[in-house]
């Protein structure tokens, strides 16, 4: 099943044109000593009916769950039209739009996407996407070092309230270029950065401050104060935001007096299924003055030889295929197909639909908190404004509870024990607009049974 159309007669005819005795002769430049035998342990080919059965069996074994985990990936309603159109062969099987005349569909879509994501984040320009939110933060850190002419350092301030996975990824991707991150602690009572303790970190000429809004705990950081403080100390501000939240929350472009400088985030909530972690897409927007420091593909509108409007990749002199070792990044592809889905999603939702999605998600999370904190030994960890995600503190280790919940088909949240041991038993929960009051009731009942069952035990 190699999807090869050749008939034996055609193969013979083609070999005659080449002047080769057989197909094996075409590999005569490979040193014979290196030639492999048949790779060991390779399974037999399956036809489509057989692989279909295998995949359906495996999918059925995994089943589905009622999910209350967010922590960087969010289950939202996805309109049927999104993937019905995005998987059209003309989008799904097209190449990177280097040949602009043969790629006007993808290019115009990317231009529309750039417009939408720039507007949503309140910034002037956007690229055509990066791999995911975490790697986009890594690229933003490298970009900040290039763009900030006021600072010569490679040090960045990285709050502990930024998604730990983003922090790990940013470290792994930037450490070889000498970037270092100074951790900013959070206020143990509020779960946000303590703005009055910041000045201790301004000393060693940091080049940028990263701010995640809402932060990993779902709490809202004092972004205006933080942005102005960073700018007053010659730093750039890198915002990490949830795109759904921007239906309701102030976009980074208006934070503080001057707004954030670089905005990144995970695009998955915009019409991309959870898919066990990917493919997703990272978005990046910035000020016009920094556009030449931005990595990734960028689409521009221009004119053709007849004076008619058209779209093309632009500012390619930043990129690896032109600049090679001096490029802004080694990135080559973007996540075109996911951006296609997100653009269709944003077109269907519009500002009103996105705001409603954000509000409904926030409402369900509030309902979930009310329900769960009525249970014995469960309380909200951090008072104060939050958005569509929150931390619960429990009176016992979280992991066994989550395991027991999974057996009932419920994903109860994300256990913070590994990343924030100082919190004690703590659980990050989220309910989006996809959850009903009945779903929340089911979770409350199941968790209630567990905490009461074991409450008597020491």
């Amino acid at each position: 099943m190699a999807f090869i159309p050749h008939t034996p007669a055609e193969v013979r005819e083609m070999l005659d044109v080449i002047g080769a005795a057989d197909v094996e002769a075409l590999f005569d430049e490979i040193p014979p000593d290196l030639r492999a035998g048949a790779p060991a342990g390779m399974p037999e080919a399956l036809n489509e009916m057989q692989i279909g059965r295998l995949m359906r069996e495996r999918a059925a074994a995994d089943g589905t769950t009622l999910g209350f985990i967010g922590a960087g990936a969010y289950e939202h309603h996805i309109p049927a039209a999104v993937w019905a159109v995005a998987t059209r062969g003309e989008f799904y099987t097209s190449y990177t739009p280097y040949q602009a005349e043969a790629s006007q569909g993808t290019l115009q879509l990317l231009y529309e996407y750039q417009t939408m994501i720039a507007s949503l984040t309140g910034m002037e320009v956007a690229n055509a996407s990066l791999y995911d939110g975490a790697s986009a933060l890594a690229e933003a850190c490298l970009m900040a070092v290039r763009a900030n002419r006021k600072s010569s350092s490679r040090r960045l301030l990285m709050p502990a309230t930024v998604n730990p996975r983003y922090r790990r990824t940013a470290h792994a991707i930037t450490t070889r270029q000498g970037l270092s991150f100074e951790a900013l602690p959070y206020d143990a009572h509020g779960g946000i950065l303590a703005t009055d303790a910041l000045d201790a970190h301004a000393g060693a000429d940091p080049t940028a401050l990263v701010i995640q809004q809402p932060n990993f705990f779902g709490r809202l950081e004092e972004v205006d104060t933080l942005t102005d403080w960073a700018h007053a100390h010659g730093m750039l501000v890198i915002a990490v935001v949830n795109p759904t939240s921007l239906g309701l929350l102030a976009p980074p472009g208006v934070w503080g007096e001057r707004g954030a400088d670089i905005v990144v985030g995970e695009g998955q909530p915009l019409g991309v299924p959870l898919s066990a972690g990917g493919p997703y897409f990272g978005f990046m927007t910035t000020r016009r003055e920094f556009v030449r420091s931005m990595p990734g593909r960028i689409v521009g509108r221009t004119l053709d030889a007849g004076g008619h409007e058209g779209y093309t990749l632009t500012l390619q002199a930043r990129e690896q295929h032109i600049r090679r070792a001096k490029a802004t990044s080694n990135i080559c592809t973007n996540q075109g197909l996911l951006v296609t889905a997100a653009t269709i999603y944003l077109s269907l939702m519009g500002a009103e639909g996105l705001a409603r999605t954000a509000a409904a998600s926030h409402a369900r999370t509030g309902e979930l908190l009310n329900a769960l904190t009525r249970l014995p030994g469960v309380r909200a960890a951090f008072p104060g404004p939050f958005f569509h995600e929150a931390v619960l503190r429990l009176d016992r280790p979280v992991a066994p509870l989550l395991e027991a919940l999974v057996r009932e088909g419920i994903l109860g949240g994300f256990d913070l024990a590994d990343d924030y041991p100082e919190l004690g038993p703590a659980l990050l929960v989220c309910a989006t607009e996809t959850k009903t009051s009945a779903d929340i009731g089911r979770y409350q009942t199941a968790l209630g049974r567990l905490v009461r069952d074991r409450h008597a035990k020491p």
Binding site: M14, T64, E101
Partner: protein, 496 residues
């Protein structure tokens, strides 16, 4: 074809919307969100009905070439057919709805697919460890060179920061070396297209971290000196990196591990046929031998007894770390898994054979038309390099002109001006899924264009003529930057 499709913003009417997709309004929910955190001005997103949106993006899709509609002889990109089954079975609802942080106990079916994919990739490449995590070829390269650096540093060999790259290499190779904090030493290739061994010997030494090689190379030929290159680089204390861009050519024929490469990346979106999606998502799995295995990125799928689980930094304390928030482009990996299981071991060998057959056939036919091969005495691998230097000199037409004219005949252009060292070149890769009839039609189109170059040159120089747009003004695009639809509040909010 209609010459202009209005933007979605022009299709918008305030007050309209795809309201069936929206949840109920819940203004009361916002009572606990203080005003200072709230958005004051709505984002300027489209206001359109569902049918408006479906028609607009369907019409945009029709302004694209794609594999489903066109032949893409795009060198080094392996634009083969993307079987529909791969998409259908990767998009089963249970896989799509799985949260990345759900426990492994609840995803054994998915993990089994990924684990088997790791094992098959090890077997087909001759490597001992595989990580599926890198999200594209370039990220696979980053992982590979990072591991090379981590290896040298773990041995206290801190001076090894130079990466040797042949001049024909993909731009991502030197760009990756820079991302990894290395310096780049470019070396030439000889007149026959093989690495210049004398230059290589002169380039390596105690500062050499490694060499990055594509084999078959981006010149469309198998690197015949590979055994000697391996001796020179390993002898100097460096490691060998295999760029898997051209793995399709040698699948089941010769393995990177047997060529003694230490680390490789595979472009699953090329060799294993996952769709390009208009520029991504890709998947750039990496494979390593024993000496680099401790440094693999995480997570990796492990197997304890009969159960699968994610291995992380607790299992691999020397890992170079996480390259994404979760576990890479899982959905792409599932597509590659379905494809590989449909091929089986025998199918893989047939892929390499027919890809090479198609390339050599097309090469022979085009040479017979009078085109000049960049390396005329060499066997083509799965791709080959044509130079139009002579046509450029005699008729003042460029490789770009020919590429653009091909679009009018319904063929995507070959890769042009790459490798940079060969003037006016076309890098042509037909792939195994194209029929002889398609290749013959492509030859006929090239024949027509060669005739036009002599008799109707302006037709070629002004091509394309039958597409939604004519040639675009790239200089204007870069000088008068227009990156967002004007009149959006984005500009207003920044100004205000």
């Amino acid at each position: 074809m209609q010459s202009r499709e209005p933007t979605i913003f022009e299709c918008s009417v305030p007050g309209r919307g795809a309201t069936d997709q929206w949840p109920q309004a819940e203004p009361a929910a916002l009572a606990d969100l203080p005003q200072r955190f709230r958005r004051k001005q709505p984002a300027m997103l489209p206001a359109a009905s569902e049918l408006d949106v479906v028609r607009h993006y369907t019409r945009l899709s029709q302004r694209n070439f794609s594999i489903d509609t066109h032949f893409y002889p795009l060198g080094s990109c392996t634009m083969k057919y993307n079987p529909k089954a791969c998409n259908q079975y990767a998009m089963l609802p249970e896989f799509l709805s799985r949260h990345p942080l759900a426990p492994a106990s609840h995803g054994q079916g998915l993990l089994a697919c990924l684990y088997e994919l790791q094992e098959i990739l090890k077997s087909v490449t001759g490597m001992t460890g595989v990580c599926l995590n890198p999200m594209a070829g370039a990220q696979g390269e980053f992982a590979g060179v990072s591991m090379i650096r981590a290896y040298h540093e773990a041995r206290g060999d801190h001076a090894r920061v130079e990466i040797v790259v042949p001049e024909a290499a993909h731009g991502t190779n030197p760009a990756t070396a820079t991302m990894c904090g290395c310096t780049v030493r470019e070396i030439p290739v000889d007149a026959a297209g093989d690495v210049d061994l004398a230059a290589l010997r002169a380039a390596v030494g105690p500062r050499t971290a490694g060499i990055m090689l594509t084999n078959p190379s981006t010149l469309g030929v198998f690197e015949r000196h590979i055994v000697e290159i391996e001796r020179i680089v390993h002898g100097a204390g460096g490691l060998l990196y295999y760029d898997g861009a051209n793995l399709n050519a040698i699948l089941g024929k010769v393995r990177p591990g047997d060529m003694r490469f230490d680390v490789i990346h595979m472009n699953l979106h090329k060799t294993f046929s996952t769709p390009h999606g208009g520029g991504g998502p890709g998947a750039g799995a990496v494979g390593v031998n024993e000496r680099l295995a401790p440094f693999l990125p995480v997570p990796i799928v492990g197997k304890d007894g009969g159960r699968y689980r994610w291995l992380d930094e607790r299992d691999l304390p020397q890992t170079i770390g996480n390259l994404s928030a979760f576990m890479g482009n899982t959905g792409v990996l599932l597509r590659a898994y379905v494809y590989i299981r449909m091929l089986g071991g025998e199918g893989m060998r047939r892929v390499a054979e027919h890809a090479t057959l198609n390339a050599n056939y097309l090469f022979a036919r085009l040479k017979a038309l009078g085109l000049d091969a960049a390396y005329p005495d060499r066997r083509a691998s799965h791709e080959f390099l044509i130079t139009l230097k002579r046509q450029a000199r005699e008729y003042e037409v460029s490789a770009m002109d020919v590429a653009k004219r091909l679009l009018d005949f319904g063929f995507h252009a070959p890769t042009t001006y790459f490798p940079l060292m060969v003037p006016e070149c076309l890098l042509i890769e037909p792939t195994e899924t194209e029929s002889k009839a398609t290749l013959d039609a492509f030859v006929a189109a090239i024949g027509r264009i060669l005739t036009e170059i002599v008799g109707d040159r302006e037709r070629v120089k002004n091509a394309p003529h039958g597409l939604p747009v004519r040639r675009l003004d790239d200089v204007r695009a870069a000088k008068q930057l227009d990156l967002t639809w004007p009149g959006t509040p984005a500009a207003d909010s920044v100004a205000g």
